[in-house]
């Protein structure tokens, strides 16, 4: 493509937008609303996933051994577990370590002398265990079933509700955001399509002349596709600027005004989240603009 042709298409695309300014503004506003909500849910989902991941790392599976299991056997079992791909981390806790921890939990630092009576008789003698942390709690049920089949394991402690809770929070937020974005996307597609149709009607004579002069389909359609892309990109840039400042200020506000939350939640900084969000939002705006204008003009302009 010649540079002059590129400028011509760009100029005509901008000209189309200005000529139907009200339709163009309506399209930009709808895309902006759609992408704003997308960015909002994106921020929420990413932060919830971040919190969930942090929480998941504290939810472990504890495996206890049958009485009389030798240290060698425990090592073999530990190695089998460690080799599983879903395992993030595995920690061995001997019976002695378990008793040491329990003494502190049960008697407190100041009444350790009460535990002296158990010096020669560890009440948790059969409580050596492996504490296992998974990459994702979604694999927990499958993993526990696998553990049950290993010889020498007496008991497995795990929280199925924790796993289900975490995954269902993710699912609900994901489904909700897809639903709302889907509705807004449909409205945006309808409005862009309408804007392009109006532009095509305005330029009907021009397009007819172009056709008779020998302009290619590509040349006739290009200004409309440029118009669609510009509408999509402007519609993405506006909410991105808004969300950048909103997110940054909201995080600061929440953490300063509700300092109790800072212990429960850790928000991702805007610098971490924004590049991915901006990339996705711009691609979304560009994609909507391009595809909607391309297919609309194909329908309205039989060349």
């Amino acid at each position: 493509m010649r540079i002059s042709t590129f400028w011509y298409c760009l100029k005509q695309g901008i000209h189309n937008i200005c000529r139907n300014i009200l339709f163009s503004l309506a399209s930009i506003a709808t895309i902006s609303a759609c992408i704003f909500l997308f960015c909002l849910f994106f921020s929420i989902v990413v932060n919830v996933q971040y919190v969930v991941k942090n929480t998941e790392s504290t939810v472990g599976i504890t495996v206890f051994f049958e009485e009389g299991t030798t240290a060698e056997r425990m090592n073999v079992i530990g190695e089998q577990i460690r080799n599983r791909s879903e395992v993030k981390d595995i920690k061995f806790k001997s019976a002695e370590e378990a008793w040491e921890e329990m003494k502190i939990d049960y008697f407190g630092e100041d009444k350790q002398d009460l535990a002296e009576g158990f010096r020669e008789d560890n009440p948790l003698a059969n409580s050596a265990s492996f504490e296992i942390f998974l990459n994702d709690l979604i694999y927990q049920d499958e993993f526990v079933t696998w553990l049950n089949d290993i010889e020498g394991i007496r008991r497995i402690n795990y929280s199925s509700t924790a796993a289900e809770g975490m995954t269902s929070i993710n699912k609900v937020i994901g489904a909700l955001s897809i639903m709302i974005i889907g509705v807004l996307l449909a409205v945006a597609i309808f409005l862009i399509s309408n804007t392009i149709s109006v532009a095509a009607a305005f330029r009907k004579q021009e397009n007819q002349i172009m056709k008779l002069i020998g302009a290619t389909n590509y040349m006739i359609r290009a200004p409309f596709v440029v118009e669609g892309i510009l509408l999509g990109l402007i519609g993405a840039i506006i909410p991105l600027i808004a969300i950048y400042y909103l997110y940054r200020n909201a995080v600061v506000y929440v953490l300063t005004k509700f300092s109790i939350l800072s212990g429960l939640f850790q928000f991702l900084p805007v610098e971490t989240i924004f590049p991915y969000m901006a990339g996705t939002a711009l691609a979304l705006g560009l994609g909507i603009g391009f595809f909607v204008s391309f297919f609309t003009i194909r329908k309205h302009l039989k060349v």
């Binding site: 493509m1 010649r2 002059s4 042709t5 011509y8 004579q205 021009e206 007819q208 002349i209 172009m210 056709k211 008779l212 002069i213 020998g214 302009a215 290619t216 389909n217 040349m219 006739i220």
Partner: protein
């Protein structure tokens, strides 16, 4: 050379616009096509422009068979034709220069080529001093000159004119015909569809008369023999 062999055109409505048309137009010829309204004159031009397809028969333009031409070649083919209309069809939001340059821009001509050829073309049609004017600031004759300049800017081999003087007074009509004659003398084949008795009679060019879709006369230096 333009050749039409047993060409028939029936529209989907059942209207038989052309019946068994056989015409040969040599390179560099000037031909008038005359006839009543609905005689098939405009359909003939549309067939040559490949706006519509012949129902049967063969159309050859410079050895290209239009019936077998793939759609993707149509834009390239149309660049070899120039077209002017009764209502000029100028872009009202662009000045004279831009209207003519438009024809080059849409086929992807370079900026340099546009800068060189548009002023030359405007000089040729006698509008070099009005290049900044908008269509509504021009007379009908001047608007048609702009349309001719736009049709010729891509150096077509054939110029098709559909009632080019239909909206003009007698004086401007003759001026436009003189311009088309000049274009023809430079080697471009010119085909003019018209209703104007005066023009046809004064120009003394080849005249093909159509009636209800059939050719009723084809005279080398004809006059207007048909009454509307």
């Amino acid at each position: 050379m333009i050749e039409l062999w047993n060409v028939n055109k029936t529209y989907e409505t059942g209207n038989k616009a052309l019946r068994d048309i056989n015409i040969t137009i040599n390179d560099g010829e000037f031909v008038f096509i005359i006839g009543r309204s609905g005689s098939g004159k405009s359909t003939l031009l549309k067939l040559l422009l490949k706006e519509v397809e012949a129902t049967s028969g063969k159309i050859l333009v410079n050895d290209m068979n239009l019936g077998k031409m793939p759609r993707r070649y149509v834009p390239k083919y149309r660049r070899r034709l120039g077209m002017i209309f009764q209502d000029f069809r100028l872009l009202k939001d662009r000045n004279v220069y831009e209207n003519v340059a438009f024809a080059q821009r849409v086929i992807g001509a370079s900026a340099r080529s546009i800068r060189e050829s548009v002023p030359a073309m405007l000089t040729m049609v006698g509008l070099s001093s009005k290049y900044k004017s908008f269509p509504q600031q021009l007379s009908g004759g001047e608007q048609q000159r702009v349309a001719i300049a736009r049709a010729l800017i891509n150096r077509p081999e054939i110029l098709l004119a559909d009632e080019p003087t239909g909206n003009l007074d007698a004086h401007n009509s003759m001026e436009i015909m003189k311009l088309l004659d000049e274009v023809n003398k430079r080697g471009t084949t010119v085909i003019v569809v018209t209703h104007s008795h005066e023009i046809v009679d004064r120009m003394r060019k080849r005249v093909i008369t159509l009636d209800r879709g059939t050719i009723i006369s084809d005279e080398k230096k004809g006059g207007y023999t048909h009454e509307d």
